[in-house]
Symmetry: C2
Subunit: 214 residues, 2 copies
């Protein structure tokens, strides 16, 4: 896939050597993260933000919410958003306080969100969301009713203006500090899934599906 075109806004100013415009890398970070933050300018002209779930299909990113929600309002008003996902991959412990850092993968995207009006497209998008949360899940669950579709808004953002920033590896200490008798390195961090906890009202005949095992 061709790289994402750089714009003034997506040019990484601080730590430019960590910038990534490769579409595969950017998309892999968006796909890995469950939660994103969406910033917008509120009705009073002040900065505001909503954390939400997102999912990607091709070059489009989707979020969903209430039709009365603020993000829907931004989309309906033709407003712009700035979206970010950030994944913490590790603590970076340098020999000096100054060279402590975090290993991370982060994406910033700018877009004018649009409300998905077509019910079939909405249904396909919601299927993609459930399948992101848990692959294999859509086939098992009761699909949305017409009413549920009506009270769910799906908003789409084109991934035309975005970039990633990635830090990995050991600390980058000052040359003189490598001689200090201080342990230095990385403490990896990862988001881990625990054992599924059944709903207290679960029918005891309902077994844990294969896609939740292991």
């Amino acid at each position: 896939m061709p790289d994402i075109e750089k714009t003034k806004r997506t040019t990484v100013l601080r730590g430019a050597r960590r910038a990534v415009f490769d579409r595969d890398t950017v998309y892999a970070i968006l796909d890995k993260a469950l939660v994103c933050q969406v910033a917008f300018i509120d009705a009073n002209g002040r900065p505001a933000m909503v954390p939400t779930n997102h999912w990607r299909v091709g070059d489009k990113l989707f979020i969903h919410g209430s039709p009365k929600g603020r993000l829907c309002g931004v989309a309906e008003a033709g407003g712009e958003v700035c979206l970010n996902v950030a994944i913490a991959d590790g603590l970076v412990l340098g020999r000096s306080a100054y060279h402590h850092s975090l290993n991370y993968r982060s994406v910033v995207a700018y877009a004018s969100p649009m409300v998905v009006a077509d019910p079939k497209e909405k249904m396909r998008a919601l299927e993609a969301f459930i399948e992101k949360l848990q692959p294999g899940r859509w086939a098992d669950v009761r699909p949305p009713t017409e009413t549920e579709l009506k009270i769910t808004s799906v908003v789409v953002l084109d991934l035309n203006e975005c970039s990633a920033k990635v830090r990995g590896g050991p600390p980058m200490d000052e040359e003189a500090d490598y001689a200090l008798p201080v342990w230095a390195g990385e403490v990896p961090l990862s988001l881990v899934r625990g054992e599924p906890v059944p709903d207290p009202r679960l029918d005891p005949n309902c077994k844990v599906p294969d896609y939740l095992k292991g």
Copy 2:
């Protein structure tokens, strides 16, 4: 501690029953999260956002960065930010697609950030940052030099206008759906620390410090 005073902006509109204004709860979420997002209005009047690390001391939240960074610019210009942290605690798998959700803890704070000018206050704040990343670490590392202090900006936000939103527990399915033969429940998620990875250039005589064990 008294609850945080509710303002128009921190009144939770969607899912109001999940709103929390209890200061201990809000602070515990801020303390647990390593990464926050800071939204602001950029020089062209458009929404922008920076992911960064944050730490808390009392009723104040701190972030740091380059004096040339955009957040510092917002602080110097007397601008406002909206800050969010969101922790994903679990996938909520309902019997219907509609009742799939995430268990999470999230805080939104509005503030006018201020640059910390006093070098002593800055040093104390940076100590608190390192101790948040890794308790016990500050005593081990080379402290910041005067030059390092100069090229590090510390920005402080008062936690006067903030609220949390928390979802926990099993799915809340439609009453009729509880009879469906669909497994439902929660898949817990947690950020887990791995085994420390030594810097490839680490002096082999440097042992893993006690605060990194177990």
